[in-house]
Symmetry: C2
Subunit: 249 residues, 2 copies
Amino acid sequence: MTPVTSGSLIVAGLGPGDDALITQEVRDAIDQATDIVGYIPYVKRIPARPGLTLHASDNRVELERASHALEMAAAGQRVVVVSSGDPGVFAMASALFEALETGPKAWLDLDIRVLPGITAMLAAAAQIGAPLGHDFAAINLSDNLKPWDLIETRLRAAGEAGFAMAFYNPRSKSRPHQFARALEILREACGPDVLISFARDVTKPTQKILTVTLAEARAEMADMRTMVVVGNRDTRRIGPHVYTPRSVT
Amino acid sequence: MTPVTSGSLIVAGLGPGDDALITQEVRDAIDQATDIVGYIPYVKRIPARPGLTLHASDNRVELERASHALEMAAAGQRVVVVSSGDPGVFAMASALFEALETGPKAWLDLDIRVLPGITAMLAAAAQIGAPLGHDFAAINLSDNLKPWDLIETRLRAAGEAGFAMAFYNPRSKSRPHQFARALEILREACGPDVLISFARDVTKPTQKILTVTLAEARAEMADMRTMVVVGNRDTRRIGPHVYTPRSVT
């Protein structure tokens, strides 16, 4: 049996989908792991090999998944929790620390590290051009873990202060009207001419990108596989590219 | 002479410093380049090889550098502009599109792509724990390209709306008093107990991380090699880690 002190837990970002966007640091961590833990589609991206156990779990069980990973690390395993994008941006890193906080004290001595990845917002921005080239805000539009009122407040605050914005989880089947409401607020706070880009399946073969003005934007342009990026008043098109200048007018 | 149509321009992110954080996509682009263009310390990270010309330029000449890269691409070269972090976050991508906008129309037909990288804010967050695990804003504190008043407005708006924040270029020798003023605004907008982390030389051997409350924060804790990350009211310590929970209290 491996002694307890040799266990480790890494939360690693796999990027938005294309394996060419994984860092060498994350590849090395996966190569050295004894156990991979994660949501089914992310674990599917890891090739099987002798000595590696894959633990795939369903969506919306982040805390159970994190506790399971911590238990295995405490038992001496080299555990890697895989996350899409960057684990620190609306992904597994915070869930891991929540589980650590409510778990046994001995877990606090574990060797825990977070390895960054290319988050969907920045992969989408690169495909669009440079829409986040000036100050910007990243907002999770899901109201699973915060009240919708707070989301409205943040949209308004960011728009009025001239931030560009990127939205994760813009629209789900269980709350189809909220994104339409978000677009209304954005039109009021930013004005109708500001550009908004819908980037679906970023870096995947099925990738599709659409840029329109806020006046033209419709809620149906987004689903849960879409990253939405809103520019500021200076954001413009140049040829096929959309970019936000470094200075303000 | 290579025909014009074969030229291409890639703006690629090298990440915050550690070569293990470069993606395979960026490595491949560098391997296939005929010309590398960039700020001196970033070009120094690219190994010399036959058939590759390195064009290193000084800081604060982003537009000239971008135009030079576009000219070479238009002449048929495979040009890679290297940027630290992610090129789309306070780096070379927006400068490239600014140069494209003011340059010859023929440049609009060029094959231009942006390849994302690990931006300093997310590399810093990973080392700190998960301080950006909830809605957050990214703000460039330099007033080179925007009025300081606007920076104050954005700090206040983001703090009052409960965003966590990450600051690029927090403090320079030419404007030592502004960061002290930023801290004052943050104490007012967020409260004195909110945690602030100073991450210097992230992912480099000289990396140093310090987390204090806003009440304890001093301007001298940051310089231009420091990423500053401010949490929200829920951000807390758990063992050696600092994280922001996914939900709000």
